[in-house]
């Protein structure tokens, strides 16, 4: 990815990019901002022949000339059949995207450098299946899927991420080349999706300072686990705290609860890191958060003014990582 990004574009590519940018601006102005869900109406669809379609057209013209020259009736029949098929394909291609419902679009989670999965949920308002629909986002394209009527279908696009921060995804594309791949019909939706890219966890982070600074913890002073009962398992609870014995006995997943004060509470603090570069420091924090989560600890996050109160579980971990992602971003 980085190698292609660093390669200098050729003149032709630059002209192409310039043209694409102009078209993009025009379309943006024409369509305006919108919020999902959106039903794709015929008016907003674009359609152009593919390379195969252009070749097909040239073949039809060549066959027409041949049939005229040889005054060959069946040659005319074949030529006209091909031309008619091309016209029908054009209409079917257009119809194949029209009426599709874009229910929602959501970004997944990703550490910088990892691909982020972006999911677009589509459904069909009509009674016919829509074939071979692809979603595209920022140059990445999903696999093709059929959309059966009455069934929501999600298309996943993996977008490469490079750096931490807020990834703005202004434009969702949906396209189809059904039938025969002679034409490509597509639509652009300006829903201005945002995705948070977490910092890459530092590979060689310094040892996490154990700062048990919680006041209530100091009050009780006992420090170690003080069992306070069981509650239903929730996604994100650390596997270390699942009551496995009880699970073996009853088949129900329970999480062991501890007396709030007795649990060691760790503060992960930006001030505790020492690197000069803020990104590096965030990477270290990222590593610490992941470690603390994996260790099943209860931890909080201090990022200068931003404070995430101590908690535990996957949702908390993600909230902390999100805080890292938006740190210092003006639009946050």
């Amino acid at each position: 990815m980085s190698s292609t990004a660093s390669a200098r574009p050729t003149l032709l590519q630059r002209i192409g990019n310039l043209g694409a940018a102009r078209v993009s601006r025009w379309v943006r102005k024409r369509q305006g901002q919108e919020t999902l869900p959106v039903t794709l109406r015929a008016k907003r669809l674009y359609i152009l022949p593919t390379l195969t379609g252009i070749t097909y057209g040239i073949v039809v013209v060549a066959m027409l000339l041949g049939s005229m020259n040889y005054n060959n009736s069946m040659g005319f029949a074949l030529t006209f059949l091909l031309a008619a098929t091309g016209l029908v394909a054009m209409h079917r291609c257009h119809q194949n995207l029209s009426g599709v419902n874009v229910e929602q679009a959501s970004a997944g989670h990703a550490f910088a450098g990892d691909p982020m999965t972006f999911t677009v949920v589509l459904s069909e308002t009509g009674q016919r299946t829509k074939y071979d629909i692809r979603a595209s986002l920022d140059g990445s394209v999903s696999h093709a899927h059929d959309i059966e009527p009455g069934l929501a279908t999600s298309l996943s696009v993996a977008i490469p991420t490079i750096k931490r921060g807020i990834l703005s995804l202004p434009r969702i594309g949906l396209s189809t080349r059904f039938p025969l791949s002679l034409l490509r019909c597509w639509v652009w939706i300006y829903a201005d999706q945002k995705a948070l890219v977490w910092p890459r966890p530092a590979s060689d982070a310094p040892v996490r300072p154990k700062t048990h600074t919680d006041q209530s913890g100091a009050d009780k002073g006992r420090g170690e686990e003080d069992f306070a009962g069981l509650r239903d398992y929730q996604r994100g609870d650390s596997s270390r705290r699942v009551a496995w014995k009880a699970f073996a006995r009853t088949g129900d997943m329970k999480t062991r609860m501890f007396d709030g004060g007795s649990l060691s509470t760790t503060w992960i603090d930006l001030a505790a890191t020492s690197a000069a570069d803020i990104e590096t420091r965030l990477e270290v924090l990222c590593r610490w958060i992941i470690d603390a989560h994996d260790a099943g600890e209860r931890y909080g996050l201090r990022l200068g003014d931003t404070i995430v109160e101590p908690a535990e579980g996957l949702a908390h971990r993600n909230a902390c990582l999100d805080a890292l992602a938006v740190f210092g971003e003006s639009s946050a």
Partner: protein, 647 residues
């Protein structure tokens, strides 16, 4: 991933290719078929077993070798036959290196060109069946190759390509009729060697008897008014004037576009449409004296036959009006008369002597003609398909020793005798008679109806047709060849001539005739006539383009409407409608993500007084919709009616 997709679509592509190639099997050297089958089998097996493709150092020499083999077999690459052979070889080579979708699309394009080349070679009534089959297979393969989501079964692809064909059919019909047909050719068509059929421009003893064994159709005729009698159907094609002692030869004719004024026109006029089979020759067929004609590039030669300035390389249809029994060139200059008296300076001495003595004994030219015919009739002359071979003095041998011959023998010796006696004479080669198809009103003229007769020029009369064969075998002229030969015991009726089969044959020929008229013969002329029939006089190509565009736009809109209709949003079912009514009555729309039960809770919270009614209605709605409870469905509307929001 890629190999999985290939495994799924390659069988479709290979079968499409084989189907498209099928009609070429008989016209191509066997090795091409074998090569195609072998490479298809190889590719299929390597795919099944996950083996590697043959490496480049095998494929390249093989490709070059096959190309050279085609060059060797055809002596070049120009022409339809070598061209399609080359296509097949290309397809075979391409199969061996097919790795991805793009390769398969190339194979599909080769399929299309194979179909086209089949039509360039022949266009029978079966062509339409072949077109549909081959096109359907190609499109099925195309659908399978371009399928992007998870593969579907063969039934789906079949259904897809059939629906494409069905939607394309009306567009095809419109384009067929309206697309402006421009008479070609734009570039030289390579002539197909050894492919000329029918008459030729020379006539030697035995030529026509060879032709008469062929059942091939030469042309079909539809008379616009009462057809003339069988014995009047002398279809003139070629006039031969030059005699070398054995063969007659046609001059390269000078084309005239108008009939000269000194023609003595008789009353009987016959108008007819002829659909000629391709001959790769330029002459056309017409009854005695054509005076008016319609058709592309038709001219009249100075022998008053119709010719075309371009060879007939496809079925060709034209209309003619003829004057039957007309005598042309009443006054012929002496120089022209001499031209028709030319004989080789020596040879056939007995015949010359016989002619001069008989002429001396006759009072006039007419009387002389009659006595020669009488001679043929009274002496033991036989009409036979297998006459004995003739030597150098062919006329002498025929007249005085063998006396067994076919029409060309009689015509040739008769013309010789005429010229020897000083009467201008020439040979006309053409067709005589024809078979009427009782199922539809037209006549079939076959190669077996080929005939040769003579025309003599008589002072004060002009050119006069004399058919010496009629003197020997009048049945030949009044009925047809078959009955003439039946009489001589030469022609035995085959098992296939049973009445039922005969009927079927005639039915088949009628289908062929319609096919010729409406499909193969559909050209600028037919198009013009069709639009004239519609009341549009002589539309030029611009008008046609406008008409075509209007019709296409109209049809495409119809297709779009239909597609929109089948893709229309699902209408809410009756239960859903009741639920929507309920929401309207309460003035409380349901959220998109709300279940009916959740909605009920919210609705009750907003209207506590209606609790029971809302609960009952929602319960019935759920029963009706999800348990398909019929009674609940029936009660639902009244329950919804019963809900009245307190004012």
């Amino acid at each position: 991933m890629n190999s999985e997709r290939l495994r799924h679509s390659l069988p479709y592509t290979i079968s499409a290719l084989l189907i498209c190639f099928a009609p070429h099997i008989t016209s191509k050297p066997l090795w091409i078929t074998m090569l195609l089958l072998a490479s298809a089998a190889t590719r299929y097996l390597t795919m099944l077993r996950n083996l590697n493709l043959p490496p480049l150092w095998v494929r390249t020499p093989l490709g070059v070798f096959c190309f050279l083999a085609v060059l060797y077999a055809y002596g070049g690459v120009n022409g339809v036959q070598p061209g399609s052979a080359l296509l097949a070889v290309m397809a075979a080579m391409k199969i061996l290196e097919t790795k991805n979708d793009r390769d398969q699309i190339v194979l599909c394009f080769i399929c299309l060109f194979l179909i086209l080349s089949t039509f360039l070679l022949e266009q029978t009534i079966w062509s339409i069946v072949y077109l549909i089959m081959a096109f359907f297979m190609t499109m099925t393969a195309w659908s399978a190759v371009t399928r992007e989501s998870a593969p579907r079964g063969s039934r789906w692809y079949t259904k897809e390509s059939i629906s494409m064909l069905v939607m394309a059919a009306p567009l095809l019909a419109v384009m067929w009729i309206v697309f402006p047909r421009v008479p070609g050719p734009f570039w030289a068509i390579p002539t197909q060697k050894g492919n000329t059929t029918g008459l030729s421009s020379t006539l030697s003893p035995g030529d026509i008897s060879n032709l008469s064994e062929s059942d091939e159709v030469a042309f079909r005729v539809r008379f616009l008014d009462t057809p003339p009698s069988q014995s009047q159907l002398y279809w003139r094609a070629i006039v031969m004037q030059r005699f070398d002692g054995r063969s007659w030869r046609a001059e390269e004719p000078t084309l005239v576009s108008r009939v000269s004024a000194e023609i003595n026109l008789q009353r009987t006029i016959s108008r007819y449409t002829i659909t000629a089979e391709p001959t790769q020759q330029r002459w056309l067929y017409a009854l005695d004296l054509p005076t008016e004609w319609q058709g592309e590039f038709i001219y009249m030669s100075r022998f008053l036959t119709l010719e075309r300035s371009r060879p007939i390389n496809a079925r060709f249809s034209y209309q003619v009006q003829s004057h039957l029994g007309a005598n042309a060139s009443k006054n012929m200059p002496k120089r022209a008369q001499d031209w028709y008296l030319n004989l080789p300076s020596e040879g056939n001495a007995r015949a010359r002597e016989f002619a001069t003595s008989l002429r001396a004994a006759s009072t006039s030219d007419q009387a002389f003609v009659r006595s020669v015919l009488q001679h043929f009739r009274e002496q033991p002359f036989y009409y036979t398909l297998s006459p004995p071979g003739l030597g150098r003095d062919s006329v002498d041998e025929f007249l005085f020793s063998t006396r067994r011959g076919f029409c060309e023998h009689y015509a040739s010796s008769f013309a010789f005798l005429m010229r020897a006696a000083g009467i201008p004479a020439r040979i006309v080669a053409g067709y005589q008679g024809g078979e009427r198809n009782p199922l539809s009103d037209y006549w079939i003229v076959r190669q077996s109806d080929a005939h040769a007769w003579t025309e003599v020029w008589l002072e004060g009369v002009g050119w006069q047709r004399v058919d010496p064969t009629a003197a020997v075998a009048p049945e030949r002229i009044e009925q047809n060849l078959e009955s003439a030969l039946l009489e001589s015991g030469e022609f035995t009726r085959g098992a296939f001539d049973l009445p039922m089969l005969e009927r079927l044959q005639l039915l088949w020929d009628m289908a062929n005739a319609k096919w010729n008229d409406w499909v193969l013969g559909f050209g600028p002329e037919t198009q013009k006539r069709f639009f004239e029939w519609l009341g549009l006089d002589d539309p030029d190509w611009r008008d046609l383009v406008i008409i075509l565009s209007i019709l296409l736009v109209f049809l495409m809109s119809a297709i779009t409407l239909w597609l929109t209709w089948i893709h229309r949003p699902t209408p809410p079912d009756s239960e859903m409608k009741q639920f929507i009514r309920l929401q309207k009555k309460l003035g409380l729309p349901a959220e998109p993500n709300e279940t009916p039960s959740d909605y009920a809770k919210r609705a009750i919270a907003a209207n506590p007084a209606l609790q029971t009614k809302i609960e009952t209605a929602i319960w019935h709605y759920l029963r009706a919709r999800y348990a398909e409870d019929q009674t609940a469905a029936e009660r639902l509307p009244s329950l919804v009616n019963g809900i009245r929001k307190a004012a």
